[in-house]
Every structure is written in C-alpha cells, then in structure tokens.
C-alpha cells in the first residue's frame, strides 16, 4: 500500500490526474487551495458591530415565533424567537441574542441565500456591555443519558449543521439509542480558502472531541472516527493529542475536493458506500461537522446556545484575511472591511467556498449559523462558453460518477426525463465538472435548473394523475353499477326463460296474424332496439326506476282505458291512429301512452270482462298490431332523430353506431334482442294464458289441447309452421313492448337530458 501510494505520488508529479487513484471515490479535483491566506493568521478578536441582523429563518425548516418586542432590552444568550409548533414534528429552531442590547426593529431583510429573498429578522443594537445570562439552557453539565434528552438540549440551543445546508441537528439524531453505531466527525474542509474548521481543530480540539464523546454516549455509538484532510498538519496534531486516551480515531484523508462531502467522506472513512437515496442514519452512521460538535459540547456542558461561530474572511481581494469568532447577525460588509480590502467592495461577496458557495444579493447580509466563509474574490474575466466537445473531463472529475456531459446535453435540449434517468438527483452540485470543463460550460447551473424543472414537472404530473385517478374511479363506479344492473336483468331473464319453456305451447293460440305486418313490426322494433343500444349507457340507469313508474302509468291509463273501452271499444282505434304528425316527440309520447293503454286494456279486460276475454284479446290484438306498428315506427323515427342529435354531442363510440348503420343492421344483429323480446312476449302470453285458463275454464283448455298434442306428437310441417307463427306473434308482441319501452325511455330521456 505504501509502495503503491509512493509510486502514485511519483506519477502524480507528471500527471496530476494520477492523484485520483489515491482516494476511494471517483474523480475529484485539485483546485488551488489558497488556505494559507487565512490559516496563517491568528484568530482575531471578536468585533461588536453596530447592528446585528438576526434572521428568523436560519436553517432548513419553519420560521420560529418572535418572543420579544421592539424596544426590549435583551442580554446575551436570551431567547428571541422560539418554534411555535412542536419542533419534533415541524423543523424549527430558536434564535438567541448574541450580545446584550436593544431590539430596534423586526423587519424583512435580505437573507444570505442563493435566492436573495427577503424575510423577517430581528435587528439588535448592541450596547457594548456584552452582558450575558449564564447557563440559559439550564443544564447540569452531565451527559444526557438518552438521545431524546440530548435532542432537547440541542433544540433549545438552536444548533444546526454548521458545515453545509444547516439541517437542524436535533432532527438528524434518531430517537432510540443504539441506532447509530458509528459517529463520524467531518474535519475534511475540502473547499479552497476556508480554514475555520482547521483553526477550530487547532484551538478547540478538546471541545470537539468532548462534544463527539457526549453525542456518542447519548446515542450509544461504539465508534467515533474523525477524518481530516492531509493538508492540515497542525489540526491533525492537535486533534490526535486531544483524542489520545479516548475512543476517537483520527484518520488522515487525501486532500482532494470534495472529500468533505458527506457520502464521500463516509466512504473514505468506513468503506461504506451509502446507497442511493439512503441517509447516513439508515446505515447506522451519523456525520457532523467539527464546529457542530464543539457547539454541542458548549450547549451540554455550559448551557450556551449557538450565538457565534468561527468564520473565515478571505479572498484574493483582501489584504489581511483572517478567522474570527463572529456573532451571528454581523453583516458581511463589516467583516470584509476588517480585512482591509484591496479595492472597494463593489462586487458581490461569496458565502461559502468558491466551489459550492453563492454570491450574496447584498453585501450587508448577516452571518448566520451556516456561514463558514466570506469570500471576497474580485470578478475575473469570464471565458466564453464554448460548445461541449465531449472530452469527458467532467465525467472523470465527478465524484458521484455521473455523466455530466450527457446531462448537460439533455438539459440543454430540455429533455428533462432523460436528465432524470441519468440520475441528476444524485448530483451533489459540488462543481467539479464545471471546474474542469475546457469549454467553460456552467454545468452545475444547468443541473440546478434541470432539477427544479423536473420537480415542477413531477408536481404537475402528480396533479394530472390525481385528476385522472378521480376520473377513472368515477368511470369504474359507473361501470360497476352497470354490470350490477345487467346481472340483475340477466337473473330476471333467466327466471322468465324457465317460465317460457313451461308455457311455450300456450303461444299457439295467438296465431293468425299477417306475416308481413309482423315482419314490419319486428323490423321497426329491431331498429328501435338498435337505437336503444346506443342509449343503454344512459338509459339503463333509469330503467330500474322506470319500471315501477311505467307500471303506475299503465295502471292509471288502464283505469281510464277500462272505462273507455267498456263504453266504446272500437271507437278508440281511429282516434289513436290519428297522430301521424311529424312531431316525433309527441308521437313518441303518444305511442307510449297508447302502449300503456293497450297494456292496461288488456289487463282491464282480463280483470273486468272475464267472460268475453278471448274475443276481446282477439280484437285488441288486431288493434294492437296496427298501433304497435305505428307507434314503433314513430318511436323509431324519434329515436333516430335523437340519436342524430346525440351523436353530435356525445362521444365517438355512439357515433360509430350511427343511425344508418343501426337501421341497416338490426335484422342480423338483433337476433339476440329478438329472442329477448320473444321471451318477454312469451311471458306476456303466458300471463294471458294463465288468466284465460283460470277464467275461461275447461272450454279453452280443450280447444288448445288437441293442438298441443298434435304439435308435440307429429312435429311435422304444421308444427313447424305453428311454431313459426308463434314466434312471429311473439316477435310482434315483443316489438309492441319494445315500442312501449322505447317511448317511455324517450320520455324519461327527455327529462334527463337537461340536467345532463
């Protein structure tokens, strides 16, 4: 291993890329570190600025609630703002006063955030006394015995991750002890220029180690590993000294950017490659920055909240770069002025390092808990962006092993789905790719853009998906209801079939009817049925509740008809056949009425005039035939018209069953319907027969019987003919019935159409 590394070092002298073989993750870059600018200087004495700007929102999560008023006198460490909700549910941390003074305002200020947005902040005017409240957290200095106890202290102290995103530290810690087996200390500090962690390790190594030990004790972690980059020998020495006789292991890691990345350092220290999308906690590890450990120590031991931090003020534009333990809320500009800038600070300062930092929108933004460095690099002429030459340098540099050139290509083409497939969300935005790109393409910028685009697309897609699901659910419900209805209908039919088979012989008596009329009626009925098909989806819903109403109608009509028919049986015929107007709607209605009447007549005759029933049925049959045909035709017309209307407005499926096709087809495809109708007719006939049987007694029975027997016995032409005739009769009846139904349906359809 040693031989290998020395060989690599030799090679690296000629080809710097060889240094990449020395660490466990892919790529990485070796920028000019410029660390000595500030690291060579001693830590400066704290300055108390004229105003401290304390943004309420200093970290990931919710804004805490202000607990002070303008004009209040506060002391150092006093609580200024506190989470309003249960912080264990919604991320939020309190804000404390960094020094004593007066609250002069609570107003929106520009935040040190890439967006440059404004948010509420407490403005504190220091009085210079720096009076403090000791042990404001009320701790007894003992080590918390459970993760929850530790979490409570960390929350009250307002400690957030001080290395990067500022995730509230308490929220990183699991609730149960023993979940974390390895505690990692991030002392890599891989960004150029920044030296605050370096100096912290040099000066407060003991605090860091103690903080780590406290955390490990509370969490039940067995191992503590600290990784420090090899370019900080003084820090390594101090930390090793402080860690001697403790279980903290100090590991020196290669100096390569981005060694300080959480996943990169974890891999380097433990050999565990954190799985995609997993958090360190999921693999039993917890990594925190050295400054965070020091803050933990101060909170747990002395009850001190997080009100100041070590900040590097450096850059090529400053004559005297330095590190200082800066109060939260100190404006950047005040700190930069302390470093005697070489030229006027008319360019934006950078918060963070040159690789991952961002230009602040306003140089007066305050130091917050995550500010590790203030960088004053005068603007340099930017090289023109050239097209990507696919050289692959970016890919060789990417620590996550992505394909930056491909992601760039697709981002530029706005093919964001492809960018996502290339795992753009694994990109840690370290900037290595942009750093090496010979075409000077701001690659990271493209990925940030792509990420936000993709998120937006996803949000949109989710919304659409939700709407679609709702729609589908509705369709499914309708479909289900339809099927249930059909099932019920089928069951009914089955029952009818049984009956029919029993009384099929009975149909024989309704024989002598002109075939042509029957055929015409059948045709019309078929046409109607075909037409009805297109409507089934809507009308079936009404069918179920239509039946009783139709019956009611029929009963009513029957009463009337009974009276009428009793008085003038024959007169009704011409009257009813009159309405031949083109107004199909009324015709349909009339047809329905007629049909209902007829039915009622039949019933009424059955019940009221039992003696001459046969006669009457014969009569009514004749009239029915005629009426049925007419009404059927009219109904068919109406249906056709309706359909034409409906086809215009309704979907294409109905269109495919357009009137022409429907009227042409029925003979062939309505066989099933015919059977249905025949069955129904048979049922009706059976009913009649039953009535006849019971009321006409032996006479009719005797008349029928011989026919039956002959039909049964011989099964010759006559029987066939008879059967045919029976079928035709059945058909006719079916047609009649259908016409009635159709007419009723149309009525109800009309009623329904408007609300639809």
């Amino acid at each position: 291993m040693n031989l290998l590394s020395s060989v690599i070092k030799l090679v690296a002298k000629f080809n710097p890329a060889a240094k990449r073989w020395m660490h466990s993750f892919n790529g990485g870059v070796f920028p000019k570190y410029n660390k000595s600018l500030s690291a060579s200087q001693p830590i400066r004495k704290q300055i108390i600025p004229e105003r401290l700007i304390l943004p309420l929102q200093q970290q990931v999560g919710l804004t805490p609630e202000v607990k002070v008023q303008v004009g209040d006198k506060v002391k150092k460490n006093q609580l200024l703002a506190q989470p309003s909700k249960d912080p264990f549910k919604a991320l939020s941390v309190p804000v404390h006063a960094p020094t004593s003074g007066t609250i002069v305002a609570i107003e929106p200020v520009t935040l040190p955030h890439p967006s440059g947005l404004q948010d509420q902040a407490i403005i504190l005017e220091p009085d210079g006394q720096d009076e403090s409240i000791d042990n404001v957290l009320g701790v007894d200095g003992s080590i918390p015995d459970s993760p929850l106890a530790l979490k409570a202290i960390l929350l009250n102290a307002g400690i957030v991750g001080m290395g990067g995103a500022g995730f509230p530290t308490y929220a990183k810690i699991p609730n149960q002890a023993g979940k974390i087996h390895t505690l990692l200390i991030n002392g890599a500090e891989c960004e150029p220029f920044i030296t605050c962690d370096d100096l912290l390790m040099q000066t407060q190594a003991g605090d860091i180690i103690q903080g780590a030990l406290i955390t490990a004790e509370a969490l039940g972690a067995e191992r503590i590993i600290c990784g420090i980059e090899s370019n900080k020998p003084a820090a390594i020495k101090a930390m090793k000294q402080a860690a001697s006789n403790t279980k903290v292991e100090i590991k020196v890691v290669e100096t390569v950017y981005p060694m300080g990345g959480q996943k990169q350092l974890t891999l380097e220290l433990t050999g565990v490659e954190m799985p995609h999308k997993a958090h360190a906690v999921d693999v039993g590890m917890l990594m925190m920055n050295v400054a965070t450990y020091a803050a933990i120590y101060h909170a747990v031991k002395f009850g001190e909240p997080l009100t100041s931090r070590l900040v590097t003020v450096s850059g090529l534009g400053l004559k005297q770069p330095y590190n200082m333990n800066v109060m939260m809320g100190t404006p950047f500009s005040a700190l930069a002025r302390e470093a005697s800038p070489k030229s006027e600070l008319n360019y934006p300062l950078v918060m963070g390092g040159p690789m991952m930092g961002f230009k602040v929108a306003n140089n007066d933004v305050p130091v917050i808990k995550t500010t590790n460095c203030i960088l004053a690099n005068p603007p340099e002429p930017v090289e023109m962006q050239m097209p990507c030459i696919r050289c692959g340098d970016c890919m060789d540099a990417c620590p996550v092993n992505l394909l930056p050139q491909q992601m760039y290509w697709h981002s530029q083409a706005h093919e964001f789905d492809k960018v996502e497939k290339l795992n753009v969300f694994d990109c840690i935005e370290c900037g290595c790719c942009s750093y090496v790109c010979p075409s000077h393409i701001p690659l990271v910028q493209y990925y940030r853009h792509a990420k936000s685009e993709i998120k937006e697309i996803h949000a949109e897609r989710e919304a659409v998906e939700l709407a679609k699901q709702r729609h589908e659910f509705r369709l499914a419900r309708i479909e289900r209801e339809k099927q249930e209805r059909e099932a019920r209908l089928k069951a009914k039919k089955e029952a009818v079939k049984k009956q029919t088979s029993k009384s099929s012989e009975a149909t024989a008596d309704t024989t002598k009817k002109p075939a042509s009329a029957a055929a015409a009626a059948a045709k019309a009925a078929a046409a109607k049925r075909a037409a009805a098909k297109t409507k089934t989806s809507q009308s079936e819903g009404q069918e179920t509740n239509k039946v009783p109403s139709a019956r009611m109608k029929a009963i009513e009509a029957a009463k009337q008809a009974a009276q009428k028919s009793a008085a003038e049986k024959t007169a009704s015929q011409p009257e009813e056949s009159k309405p031949k107007q083109a107004d199909t709607k009324s015709a349909a209605k009339q047809a329905a009425m007629m049909a209902a009447k007829k039915r009622a007549q039949a019933k009424a005759q059955k019940s009221e005039e039992p003696t001459d029933l046969t006669q009457k049925t014969a009569e009514t049959d004749a009239s029915k035939k005629e009426d049925a045909r007419k009404s059927a035709m009219q109904a068919a017309k109406a249906a056709a018209k309706k359909r034409a209307e409906a086809a215009k407005t309704k979907n294409k499926e109905t269109e495919s069953l357009s009137p022409d096709a429907a009227t042409e087809k029925p003979e062939t495809d309505s066989s099933g319907d015919k059977r249905k109708a025949a069955m129904e007719a048979a049922k009706a006939a059976a009913k009649k027969r039953a009535a006849a049987k019971s009321q006409n007694s032996d006479k009719t029975e005797e008349q029928i019987k011989p026919v039956d027997t002959s039909a049964e016995q011989t099964e010759t032409d006559t029987s066939v003919d008879k059967r045919k005739a029976a079928m035709e009769a059945a058909r006719k009846r079916a047609a009649e019935r259908k016409a009635k139904q159709q007419a009723e349906k149309q009525d109800s359809d009309e009623q329904q159409e408007n609300p639809q």
Binding site: P192, G357, M395, P442
Partner: protein, 344 residues
C-alpha cells in the same frame, strides 16, 4: 445557445480551455511533421498551408453564414486539428485541388452543417479523407516515394511547382511516386506473392532498420505519448486501438505468415499511429464513457484490420472510424458507469 444568465458556483476553474487542448494536440503532431518533411520532402508543408488557407476561408464564411461570432470560434483551433489530420493522409505531392476540396468538404460537411464544433457525429478529417479516396482514387494512392528510394527529396520550389502545375521541368517524376507499402502488399498478394517477399523487398532500403513509414508512425507515437502524459487524451483510445490491433495481427500472423503481415508491420504502417493518437481521440465523435472509449477504440481496430486484409481499400482507417462513429450513441448508452450509491 440558451445559457442561463445567473452565474453561479463554482467560481473557480482549472484554466483549461478548448483552445489550449487543441493547441496541445497540434504541438504533439510536430515530430511527425518534421519526420515527414525529412522523409518525403516539403510537399506536406505546402499541403498544410493550402489546407490552412482553405480552412480559414471556409470557417469564416460558414460562421458568417450561420450567424455565429467569428473570432472565438475561428480561434478554437478545432479546424486546425481537422486539417492536420487530413493533410497527413494526403500524398504530399498530390495536386493542390485535392487538399483544398478535401479540407473544404471536411469542414463544411463534417462540421458546420451539423451545427459546428461539438455537434458533428462524424470525424471531419476522416469524412474529408473518405470523400477524397472515393472521388479521386488515383491521385490519393500515388504516394511520393520516401527518401530511401529516391536518395533525395524534392525541394520546396519543386514540390510547389509539382503540386500546382502537375509537372516539374527536367525531372522524371516516375522515380518520385509509387505505391505505399500497404498497397504493395495488397498488389503483391493479388499477384500471388506472399507478404514476406514483399516485405523483404522493402527491407532492402531502410533507414536504421526501419522504413520511412515506420519512422513516421514512431514520430506520431512520440507525440501521442506526450499527449497521454499531459492528460490531453484518454488512455483508453490508444490502448484499446493499438492493443486490439496488436492482438489480432499477432494471431493471424501466427496462423499464416504468408498471408497476414506481422504485428510490427501492422502497427507501423499506414496511418495506424496517426489514428491511435490523433484521429480516434477526437472527443466529439468518440464515445465518452470510460468503457465506451475502450470498446470504440477496439471496434475501430477490428474494422481496420478487416478492411486492410479483406476489404477493397489498402488502409481502412477512415472507413473504420466513420463506421464506429455511427455506433457511438449506442456504445455510450450501454456503458454508463455505475453511479455512486446505485446498484448496477
């Protein structure tokens, strides 16, 4: 280009740029250029200057036509690399219009019509070369004989005269032109002469044990090694290409030395080294994934060998490269590296 306007991190750069990369490639070609002048005369210098003039004119015209800023793109030096690659493939004393049409074709059809640098799927130099080879096969295969045959090379003025007028007064030109060794092997084979005979005939006239072609190839190798060392090109290209070619030629030579030339001859004839370090390393048209680069290079090697030995052209490098250019998107897609934290 729709580039975002807000500039964001990183605010640091390693100060590499396209121009520097291209310049390094150009510098790496110098040893070969010098060797070429020594062995074949000043023809190549004239050709190179002709090509450069053509390139500048074409670049200017095309950039104007495409509405692009002329200065930054004309100085990106990518055209220089293209014509350098092309000029080495053209017979040094070929008529002037050969190189002019070749470079113009390469730049216009190979680069600008696809959207300029970075967007071309085919290697422009090879596209130009293939175009010339198909259009003017006679002129393209009549090579200037190297110095070991002619004992002295044409001087600058003679070359210029020959290139522009097609003849030089008082000089018999037959002596100066002939076929390349690859061509000779091919004709030899077709006349039933085993490779070994052709080669031994060649070997009578050598320069320090190697013929001129080998010297040129070695010069390219030198420049290539320097580029490798300075990180301008990826190691996968030359290793994949030369390695595969070496293995195939070794195996076939063992099978039948009469029919298949030995390994060192394969590696040091024609444009082998030129291709290995200067042509297939053109990143725009090559595969970009680490594994993909190897596959791409190896694929070219196989095709080169196949075309040289069984194809219709004496040196199949141009066609091999163009064919593999087509396969690049596919190779890239199937050789994506494993992303950190992801399972394969």
């Amino acid at each position: 280009m729709n580039q975002p306007t807000v500039s964001s991190s990183p605010y640091a750069h390693n100060n590499q740029n396209v121009r520097k990369v291209m310049l390094q490639v150009q510098i790496a070609a110098f040893p070969a250029l010098l060797a070429h002048i020594y062995l074949f005369g000043f023809g190549i210098v004239i050709q190179w200057m002709l090509a450069l003039t053509t390139a500048l004119a074409v670049e200017y015209f095309m950039l104007k036509l495409r509405g692009r800023p002329v200065l930054p793109f004309i100085t990106d030096m990518s055209a220089l690399i293209t014509i350098t690659g092309l000029v080495f493939c053209i017979p040094p004393d070929a008529p002037w219009w050969i190189v002019v049409t070749g470079s113009a074709f390469a730049l216009i059809f190979g680069k600008h019509l696809y959207g300029g640098l970075g967007y071309n799927p085919f290697n422009p130099a090879m596209l130009g070369y293939a175009f010339l080879l198909i259009s003017f096969p006679v002129q393209m295969t009549q090579w200037t004989m190297p110095v070991e045959f002619t004992q002295h090379t044409l001087d600058f003025m003679q070359s210029a005269q020959y290139i522009f007028t097609g003849h030089i007064p008082d000089v018999s030109l037959d002596m100066y032109t002939g076929a390349t060794p690859l061509n000779e092997m091919r004709t030899g084979l077709s006349q039933g002469q085993p490779i070994t005979d052709t080669l031994s005939k060649d070997m009578q006239t050598t320069l320090g044990g190697l013929n001129s072609w080998a010297w040129i190839n070695l010069a390219f190798l030198l420049g290539g090694l320097w580029m490798l060392y300075s990180g301008v090109i990826s190691w996968q290209y030359p290793i994949g290409f030369l390695g595969t070619l070496a293995i195939i030629s070794f195996v076939f030579n063992q099978v039948d030395p009469e029919l298949y030339p030995p390994m060192d001859v394969v590696l040091l004839t024609g444009g082998t080294m030129l291709a290995a370090f200067f042509i297939i390393t053109d990143p725009v048209t090559a595969s970009t994934t680490p594994k993909g680069k190897l596959i791409y290079a190896a694929g070219i090697a196989v095709l080169v060998y196949v075309i040289r030995n069984w194809g219709a052209f004496p040196d199949g490098i141009a066609f091999a490269i163009l064919l593999m250019n087509i396969a690049v998107p596919l190779i890239d897609q199937y050789t994506q590296p494993r992303v950190f934290g992801h399972k394969r």
